[in-house]
C-alpha cells in the first residue's frame, strides 16, 4: 500500500513538473563531437533519454574549437532558461569552473572531472580501472586458450583518465593469467602491447597501431580512444578476411558504449562500458527530483557506472542503434547471432572466471589498482610488467 502511494506521488509530481513548465536541459560536448559511437554519443543518449522521460526540452551544443567552451556555457547560462547544463568531457573543466562562478544560480554537471567545487556543480567520475580489469582478464585468458602471445590496447592521448584504463587492464591481465594457471596448471606467457596514439580523432592511426599489434600476435585490441575503435575493428576484420576465418581471435574490445554490434557483431566480443549516459541521466534526474548534490560522484561497477557488456546491453544498444539509424532493424538478428557465435569461441570457464572477478570487485574482496598521476602509473607499470615496460 505504502509503495503504491509513493508511486502515485511520484507520478503526480512527475506530471505536475511536466505540466507546469517543461524545463530545459543543455548538453555541451567538446571538440570530439557526435558520431564517435562512444563517449560523446553516450552523453547525448543519456541526456536525451532523461529529457524524454521527464518531459524536458533538450538542446545539444558542440564546440568547434577550444575557444568555444566558455562562450557556449556563458551563452546558455545567460538565458537563464536551463534547469541544468551538462558538460561532457574533462577538457571542459576549466571553462565550467569559470562559468559556474559567474552564474551561481545555474546548475551544472560535468563528466570526467573531480576538481570543481561549488554549490552548483555535480562532478561525475568513473572507476574505469574496474571494467578494464574485466576486459584485461578476458583478453589474457582467451589469448592463453587460443595460443596467442600478446594482447593489445590502443589508447588515445596520455591523460590521467586513460591511465585508469591502462592500470585496470594490466591488473586484469595479470589476474587472468593467474586464473588460467590455476585452471590449466601451466602459467601462460601473454604479454601486453600498448600504444598511446596521441589522438582521439585520427581513425587511421588507430588502424595502424592495431595492425602493428596484430602482426605481433595480439589476441585482440582494446579500444581506449573513442572513434579510433572504428580503425581498430577494421584492422581486426582484415586479419579475419585474409585468413578466411569468421569467428574467434583476434577480437575487438569496445569502449564507453557497448560497441559489440559494430561490424555486424562479428568480432566485437565484449566492451568495457563507461556509462556516461547513466551519469547524464542521474544528473537530470537529480535536478528534476530536487536531489541535486554538489560534489563528486564516483561511479564504478557497484553503481552501474561501468560494466563489461552483457546480453541485455547488446539488446539495448542494438535498439538504440536502430533508433539512431546506424543499424538496419532487419540486421539485428544476424548481429546478435554473430555475436553469440563469436562469444562461444571463448571457453565457458573463462566467462565464469570473468564473472568471478566481477563479483570479487563488487564485494570488495579484490582490489583493482588505479592511477591518476605519472608516479602512480609508473608504479602500476612496474608491478604488472607483462613484458611491456
Amino acid at each position: 500500500m505504502k509503495r503504491l502511494l509513493v508511486v502515485a506521488l511520484v507520478l503526480t509530481l512527475g506530471l505536475s513538473v511536466a505540466g507546469l513548465a517543461a524545463g530545459k536541459v543543455a548538453v555541451v560536448l567538446d571538440v570530439g563531437g557526435r558520431g564517435d559511437l562512444a563517449f560523446n554519443d553516450m552523453g547525448f543518449k543519456g541526456t536525451d533519454q532523461a529529457a524524454k522521460d521527464f518531459n524536458l526540452q533538450m538542446v545539444e551544443v558542440q564546440c568547434a574549437t577550444g575557444a568555444d567552451y566558455l562562450p557556449n556555457m556563458r551563452n546558455l547560462a545567460r538565458t537563464g532558461e536551463y534547469d541544468l547544463i551538462i558538460c561532457v568531457g574533462f577538457l571542459l573543466g576549466d571553462a565550467l569552473a569559470a562559468a559556474a562562478t559567474e552564474f551561481p544560480n545555474q546548475k551544472f554537471a560535468i563528466i570526467d572531472v573531480d576538481y570543481i567545487t561549488g554549490p552548483n556543480i555535480m562532478n561525475f567520475v568513473f572507476r574505469e580501472n574496474e571494467m578494464s580489469a574485466l576486459v584485461g582478464a578476458l583478453a589474457a585468458m582467451s589469448a592463453a586458450q587460443h595460443g596467442y602471445t600478446t594482447a593489445g590496447i590502443v589508447l588515445g592521448i596520455e591523460i590521467p583518465v586513460l591511465w585508469h584504463f591502462e592500470a585496470g587492464f594490466r591488473f586484469g591481465m595479470d589476474w587472468g593469467l593467474k586464473a588460467y594457471a590455476a585452471h590449466e596448471g601451466t602459467m601462460p606467457a601473454v604479454n601486453l602491447l600498448y600504444t598511446y596514439t596521441g589522438t582521439f580523432s585520427d581513425i587511421a592511426l588507430g588502424k595502424a597501431a592495431s595492425e602493428a599489434m596484430l602482426a605481433q600476435g595480439a589476441v585482440g585490441i582494446y579500444n581506449v580512444a573513442g572513434p579510433l575503435g572504428v580503425g581498430d575493428l577494421e584492422a581486426v576484420t582484415e586479419v579475419h578476411d585474409n585468413a578466411g576465418t569468421k569467428y574467434g581471435p583476434p577480437y575487438y574490445y569496445g569502449v564507453d558504449a557497448d560497441q559489440d554490434w559494430m561490424g555486424n557483431g562479428m568480432h566485437g566480443i565484449a566492451s568495457g562500458m563507461k556509462r556516461v549516459d547513466t551519469a547524464c541521466y542521474m544528473a537530470v534526474e537529480a535536478v528534476v527530483n530536487g536531489t541535486f548534490t554538489p560534489g563528486v560522484t564516483s561511479l564504478g561497477l557497484a553503481e552501474g557506472g561501468v560494466a563489461i557488456s552483457k546480453v541485455r546491453d547488446m539488446e539495448e544498444f542494438i535498439q538504440y542503434g536502430i533508433g539512431a539509424g546506424q543499424i538496419a532493424a532487419a540486421d539485428a538478428p544476424a548481429i546478435t547471432y554473430n555475436w553469440v557465435q563469436n562469444r562461444l569461441t571463448v571457453a565457458d570457464w573463462i566467462w565464469d572466471a570473468v564473472a568471478l572477478l566481477e563479483q570479487g570487485i563488487l564485494n570488495n574482496s579484490i582490489f583493482v589498482p588505479t592511477a591518476s598521476t605519472g608516479a602512480e602509473i609508473a608504479t602500476v607499470r612496474a608491478q604488472y610488467t607483462l613484458g611491456a615496460p
Binding site: 551544443v61 562562450p71 596520455e158 590521467p160
Partner: protein, 386 residues
C-alpha cells in the same frame, strides 16, 4: 598579378577573371557573400531547418549587442594575425602555408613565461617577444631552403606544420606540462596575461595587438622601400631583379614578418583567452588547431590587404560567435555540423574572387613544382604534358 596571365590561361577563365575583377572590390565581396548566404540557406532548407530563423540567430549571436560584439572580436584576434602571415607572403609572390606551425611554436614559447616571475606588463612583453622570435625562427628554415635549394615553400611549410604540431605536443605533454593536470601545460601567470576588456567575455587587449600588427604591416608594405621591394618582387620577380631588387632579401623579409605575426597569434590565444591561459596537449590543442589555416581564408576574403583582413576577421569572428548561438537559439536549433557547412559555403563564396585572382600565381607555382620534380626523376613523368 592579372597582367602577367599568359596565353596558357584558358579563355573561359580569363573571361570570368575579367568580369570579377572589373567590379569594385567591396561590391564584389558583397555579391560573393550574398551567393554564399543563399547557398547556405538552400542547404539548411533542404535539410529541414528554417534558414531565416537560423540566420537571425547568427546575426543576433554575432552582432546583437556589446557581449556579442566582444565575442566576435575575441575570435577575430588570432585570425587577423595568421591572415597577415599568409598575405604578406602572397604580396611577395609566395604561398606560405606555415602559419599553423609558426603559431604553435609561438604559443609554446609564450607558455615558457610561466617558468619565471616578472613584474606585470614586462612579463607580458617578454612572452610576446618569445612568441615572435619562435614564430620567426620556425619560418626561417623554409625560407632558407627556398633561397638556397629552390625547395617549394608550399611543400616545406606544410611539412613544417606537422613537425611543429608534434613538437608542440611533445613540449606540452613532457616539458611544459602542469604536474597536477597532465592534460594541459603550465598556466600563464596573471602578470603575463592580456587583461580582459569586456567583463564576462573573452575579449581582451590582445585585439589591439592584432590591429597594431595589421597597421604596422600596412605601413611597412606601402610606405617603406623594403615594402615596395617586397611587393615589386611579388608582382614580377624577374622585373624586380632587373630593377635592382634583391629577391632573396625580400623572401626572407616576408617570411620573417609572417613568422612574427603567426607567433604572436599563438601568444594571443594562450595569453589572452580565458579561462585556462594554457594549451591543452591532452586534447591535441583544441584551442589552437586550425587558427593558422582559418587565417588563410581570412586573408583571401580580406584580399590580402591588412585593412581588408581586419574587416574580414570581424566577419569570421561573427560567423564563429553567431554559429555558437545558431545551435540553441529559439525554436530552430541547427546542429554544429550544419552550422559549419553553412559557414563553409559563405567563406568559400567570399574567397573565390581572390582565389581567381591568384590563379596565375598558383599555376606558376605548380609548374615550377612539376619542373623540379621532373628534374629529379621519376614521379613527374606521369604528369606528362601538364
Amino acid at each position: 598579378m592579372s597582367e602577367q596571365a599568359g596565353p596558357t590561361q584558358s579563355r573561359l577563365l580569363r573571361g570570368v577573371h575579367r568580369t570579377v575583377t572589373g567590379l569594385h572590390p567591396a561590391l564584389e565581396s558583397m555579391l560573393a557573400a550574398l551567393i554564399g548566404l543563399l547557398v547556405g540557406a538552400a542547404l539548411m532548407y533542404m535539410w529541414g531547418f528554417n534558414p531565416w530563423k537560423a540566420y537571425w540567430a547568427l546575426l543576433r549571436g554575432a552582432y546583437g549587442g556589446s557581449y556579442e560584439w566582444a565575442s566576435t572580436l575575441a575570435r577575430a584576434t588570432p585570425l587577423i594575425l595568421t591572415a597577415l602571415t599568409f598575405s604578406v607572403c602572397v604580396r611577395a609572390g609566395m604561398f606560405n602555408i606555415g602559419a599553423e606551425g609558426q603559431m604553435f611554436m609561438g604559443a609554446m614559447a609564450a607558455i615558457c613565461v610561466a617558468l619565471f616571475k616578472m613584474p606585470p606588463g614586462i612579463h607580458l612583453i617578454v612572452g610576446l617577444l618569445f612568441a615572435l622570435i619562435a614564430g620567426a625562427a620556425w619560418s626561417i628554415v623554409p625560407a632558407v631552403l627556398k633561397i638556397t635549394r629552390g625547395v617549394s615553400e608550399v611543400i616545406s611549410t606544410i611539412m613544417f606544420n606537422w613537425i611543429a604540431r608534434w613538437l608542440a605536443l611533445y613540449i606540452a605533454i613532457f616539458i611544459l606540462v602542469d604536474p597536477s593536470r597532465a592534460e594541459k601545460t603550465l598556466t600563464i601567470p596573471v602578470s603575463a596575461r592580456f587583461p580582459i576588456l569586456v567583463r564576462g567575455t573573452d575579449f581582451s587587449y590582445s585585439f589591439f595587438l592584432a590591429i597594431f600588427a595589421a597597421l604596422v604591416l600596412y605601413f611597412v608594405l606601402w610606405h617603406t622601400t623594403m615594402g615596395y621591394e617586397v611587393r615589386a618582387a611579388g608582382l614580377n620577380p624577374t622585373a624586380a631583379r632587373y630593377g635592382g631588387i634583391r629577391n632573396k632579401r625580400t623572401m626572407i623579409v616576408s617570411f620573417l614578418l609572417g613568422g612574427i605575426t603567426a607567433g604572436l597569434a599563438g601568444a594571443t590565444v594562450v595569453m589572452g583567452m580565458p579561462p585556462s591561459y594554457a594549451a591543452f596537449g591532452g586534447g591535441a590543442f583544441p584551442e589552437l588547431t586550425n587558427i593558422g589555416f582559418d587565417g588563410m581564408a581570412v586573408a583571401m576574403v580580406g584580399r590580402n590587404h591588412p585593412i581588408g583582413i581586419i574587416v574580414a576577421s570581424v566577419l569570421f569572428g561573427g560567423l564563429n560567435a553567431g554559429g555558437r548561438v545558431m545551435q540553441f537559439y529559439g525554436s530552430n536549433p541547427v546542429p554544429l555540423e550544419m552550422v559549419r557547412i553553412v559557414m563553409g559555403a559563405i567563406v568559400l563564396a567570399m574567397s573565390i574572387p581572390e582565389l581567381i585572382r591568384l590563379v596565375p600565381a598558383i599555376k606558376s607555382q605548380g609548374e615550377r613544382l612539376i619542373a623540379t620534380l621532373r628534374r629529379h626523376g621519376r614521379p613527374a613523368s606521369k604528369e606528362g604534358s601538364a
